[in-house]
Structure formats: C-alpha cells, structure tokens
C-alpha cells in the first residue's frame, strides 16, 4: 500500500543553522510533490511544489529536492529563525486524492 514517511520525532536546531527535513514514499510514482507548513490549530499553508522532472527548487531560504529513484524529497530551510518553528508536511501527488504525510515538527531555538 502507498506510504509516506516523515521524521515522526521533532527536529530541534539552533537559530541560523540549516534545517533538513525528509520525506520518503513507497508504492508511489508522484508527478508532483508539495510541501506545506502547518502551525498549531491552523490550516496548512503551501510552500513549494516540485515536479518529477525537476531535481531542485528554491524559494528564498527554502530549497526542495526530489529524487524519484530514491523515492525521497528533502526540504531545507537555511538561516533558520524561531519563526520557522512549525510542522512541515509533504504531499506527493499521484492522483487527485491529496495525501499528506504525518509531518515533521521543527523547533528553531533562539
């Protein structure tokens, strides 16, 4: 069955460092993979989308990579700030049923 795995444990990093979050998927051949941010009690907010024919996508301090051979996407936040503390969700898309991973909780320590 299709499965999306994100680090279930929280990731704590020091302010100014680069945070790297992992999304692995199995039994999927997604054409697109999206990353969202979710704050407690709020709806997800779209951050970045990467297509299967793209290796890397950047937006300001964010970078996403997509390795369809490894079935993995990495999400990087450079020069992290306490305001980046949130849960980050990945959503590989193969159909029009949008499936989200469980998310990784990131805490950036001042």
């Amino acid at each position: 069955s299709q499965k999306i795995e994100q680090n279930s444990e929280a990731l704590n990093i020091q302010e100014g460092k680069t945070a790297t979050l992992t999304c692995n998927y199995t039994n999927y051949s997604p054409a697109y993979l999206q990353w969202y941010r979710q704050d407690p009690g709020r709806g997800p907010v779209f951050l970045l989308l990467i297509r299967e024919n793209e290796k890397e996508k950047r937006k300001e301090r964010l970078k996403v990579t997509f390795d369809t051979t490894l079935k993995q996407s990495l999400f990087h936040i450079t020069a992290s700030q306490p305001a980046d503390s949130a849960t980050y969700l990945c959503a590989p898309q193969e159909t029009y049923k949008y499936i989200f991973g469980t998310g990784t909780r990131l805490k950036v320590l001042a």
């Binding site: 054409a31 907010v45 049923k97 989200f100």
Partner: protein
C-alpha cells in the same frame, strides 16, 4: 489577500445529530476540497468538488457525508449522523488550476486552506 473562510470555528454536537460545516472559498477558484485532521494525526483528504460535482473522494467519505455548493459562494460539508470518531478539525481548501496544472497524474495547483472548524462530538 483573498482567503478561505470557515464557520463556525468550533462546533459541539451530540452523537447522532446532523452538522453542517460551512466554507467560503476564494472567489475565482474552481476546485474545492474538504479535509479532516484528528487531534495529533495527519491531514486526511475527504473529497474534492468541481463543476458542481464530486471529482474525487476517499474511503473516509462514506454515505454519512455529503457536500454541496448551495449558491455561488458557499461550500458545505454535511455529516448526517455524527459519531464520536468524527471529532476532528475540518479544513476546507480551494484552488484555481491553470490549464497546464492538471494532468492524468495529479494536479500542481496550489491549495489554499481555511482556518478550520473544530468539531466535537459528545
């Protein structure tokens, strides 16, 4: 900036009662969605809606659930006879796909989520 709105923010109901959750999507968007998130768990897709009909639904979206766009602005989720396990945060989302964003293998349009309705079934 336009945003998706949802009402009420919190709904408390007794088991077996019907509830209607309301959403106002972004005005020029064409696709509408409902998701739910049980406390501490992942966001789960329920249904997508386009051109006044359901385009996709998940296994969760059984006969107890229905969606409707009763007028040009609202999009509603009805749960006919609520169960304790329906307690969750319900999110509405909308998207405005460009012609190139839809293919046989999914969509690349950005979904904009509302703030959610917390449903508590007692």
């Amino acid at each position: 900036e336009p945003e998706v709105t949802q009402t009420p923010s919190h709904q408390v109901t007794q088991m077996g009662q019907e509830v209607i959750l309301r959403c106002v999507p972004i005005s020029n968007h064409l696709y509408f969605y409902w998701y739910r998130q049980i406390l501490g768990q992942k966001v789960e897709f329920l249904v997508s809606f386009y051109n006044n009909e359901i385009s996709e639904k998940s296994e969760i979206f059984d006969d107890q659930f229905s969606v409707e766009r009763p007028d040009g602005s609202n999009f509603t989720l009805k749960i006919r006879s609520t169960k304790l396990e329906d307690s969750a945060m319900y999110f509405c989302a909308s998207s405005d796909p460009s012609p190139s964003s839809r293919s046989k293998r999914g969509a690349s349009d950005t979904q904009y989520f509302g703030p959610g309705t917390r449903l508590t079934v007692l």
